[in-house]
Subunit: 348 residues, 2 copies
């Protein structure tokens, strides 16, 4: 139930019963490459354009997550989904065939956190026994939308991040047991709580430095989580941000240190994990809703399931960038949604 | 709780305790003009550009709804909000100063239905005692985004609708009484149920005929509502769609008739109500998330509060149009989210 100012502690922490990750070629060549369920060798995925390819990523990830849970699309009550594109076209065209009631979401690169939060709320309240949460991004659709045409060959500064091509999807299921009890099935993890972010604007205006734009928002959400749950970094095996990259990470660690928290040993960033920046030319790291979504599904959840990590704070981070507001001279505000994901002990 | 395939019947129907509507000049000159809380005479609202003006609409509506409920922003647990613009910039920049945890939503013109649905779910489940749901649109930001620059003076066919300039906001509050009991306060109405829409695509490709694109989606949602709640059109004093306009209305009524339902006496469309199409040159009617949002707040809720209407099915309707997908030759799918709004008898 309600916890502090902006958090919820779930009475019956919803279970993540399956996860699927579909990644692009470059992501497949990175350090996490072997962990993805599917690596697409063709960025267009045989489609006419990049937007349709991104829709295809969503479709594949959604169907695979449903299949891995041993379900069919009719078993899913609600979809909570989004992407980075104007009017969520990757989502609209990608999930249409599933014929599942849809809540379309936009939280920039924090969308996976927003989707899991709302899916967990719905499942815990009994509005649906099973819900699907997913988010995608695509390097080419994002560059076209937010920055320069790829053919222009624009030089990217070292603070720039690389929008990940990929989609991560998780199926959440109602937990019949109350907190602490052991589950009979073998879920990947459970969602014990969430901390919902507000918009935070430090006035940054550089669309090539999203890490710096997002750091204040994720800083706020982590602090709020600590305050609401009355704990600190020692409560977590990992605090995992979405796509701060190396520039944003430095800022976050500095901000936290000023408040008396040392995150240096516990912090991990999906954007830094996803690529080898030296060999893959990704500069500050990965970004996009797909970045944290596929890292969660392919790398984080398995480690929680096996018990390497008992409790993780997953905080996807969004930079509310738009080419329209950017060209009108506006700043890039940020938002970050926190999800507390825990290991589930299973009956032997 | 869960009702049928895609609906929820709330055990303690959340109360709408306040509503605020901020409308543009043209909307103020229409049939509902005298009902709006605020009519803006300047489409730019003293701002540098239209996008900032739309943000200002959201800010004013949100603050007024909170104020009319006798609350301050700190009393609101969550915001559920959206608009039509890429990356929801009207919302991001409009609601930032409220410093309330935000779930950003995109459901095209169905966003008010999506926002109220999620806010009602959150309030009923006890995740927040009070939540704010709002949606906005602006004629100039929408035309610029979806069709032609205004200065181009493009001719609009008669099937075209006019994107409304306005923002409607409602505060939802937890209902301590169970269904049927009388409330002590005097709320505007209560949300007794919702029916969440899926994406429906009939393959229409005309961005100047949104009514036809949306009619199949709203048809599906109304049918689903009838099926899930085991009732029909006679259960409602009004079935109110968002922005079908005259073209979409005809299609909906035809579709329903084929299924054996006669909506001709009970149907009303916010897009048709908002303007006088003969004198205001709005052709098929109004559209945009703001259209149904301001009509709800200014015209529908007062009639439910006074008891003229005991039960209404409010179904905002969204056309998932994007200039990118449109220019790539894609169709315009639709989505519609239904909300069952009821009169609350008060203790005398």
């Amino acid at each position: 139930m309600q916890k502090g100012k902006a958090s919820i502690a779930f009475e019956h922490p919803p279970l993540i019963v399956s996860a699927a990750s579909v990644a692009g070629k470059k992501e497949g060549e990175g350090p996490l490459g072997s962990l993805f369920d599917i690596v697409e060798s063709d960025e267009r995925m045989g489609k006419k354009n990049w937007e349709e390819a991104e829709s295809e990523l969503q479709k594949k990830a959604a169907e695979l997550a449903i299949q891995k849970a041993g379900l069919s699309s009719g078993d899913i009550r609600y979809l909570f989904a989004g992407d980075l594109l104007g009017q969520l076209i990757a989502t609209s065209f990608g999930l249409m065939e599933l014929e599942i009631p849809l809540f379309g979401l936009y939280g920039a690169c924090s969308t996976m956190g927003e989707a899991i939060s709302l899916a967990a709320m719905s499942v815990d309240a009994g509005y649906g026994d099973r819900c699907l949460a997913l988010a995608s991004s695509h390097f080419a659709t994002a560059e076209k939308q937010f920055r320069f045409p790829l053919a222009y060959g624009n030089q990217r500064p070292y603070s720039a991040t690389w929008t990940a091509t990929g989609c991560g999807a998780v199926v959440l299921e109602k937990n019949e047991n109350s907190q602490g009890k052991k589950a009979k099935s073998r879920p990947l993890a459970r969602i014990s709580g969430i901390t919902t972010g507000k918009i935070v604007d430090f006035g940054l205006k550089d669309s090539m430095n999203m890490g710096a734009a997002m750091a204040p928002a994720v800083f706020h959400t982590i602090l709020q989580n600590f305050e609401d749950f009355e704990w600190n970094e020692s409560a977590f095996d990992k605090i995992i941000t979405g796509d701060l990259g190396t520039v944003g990470q430095t800022i976050l660690l500095d901000f936290m240190k000023e408040k008396g928290y040392d995150l240096s040993n516990v912090h991990m960033d999906c954007g830094i994990e996803l690529y080898n920046s030296r060999t893959q030319d990704t500069h500050a790291g990965g970004s996009g809703c797909g970045c944290s979504a596929i890292t969660l599904c392919a790398s984080i959840l398995p480690r929680i399931q096996e018990g390497t990590w008992k409790r993780v704070l997953f905080v996807p981070t969004g930079a509310l960038l738009s080419s329209v507001s950017f060209n009108e001279g506006q700043s890039v505000p940020g938002i970050a949604h926190g999800v507390v994901i825990e290991h589930v002990e299973t009956v032997r």
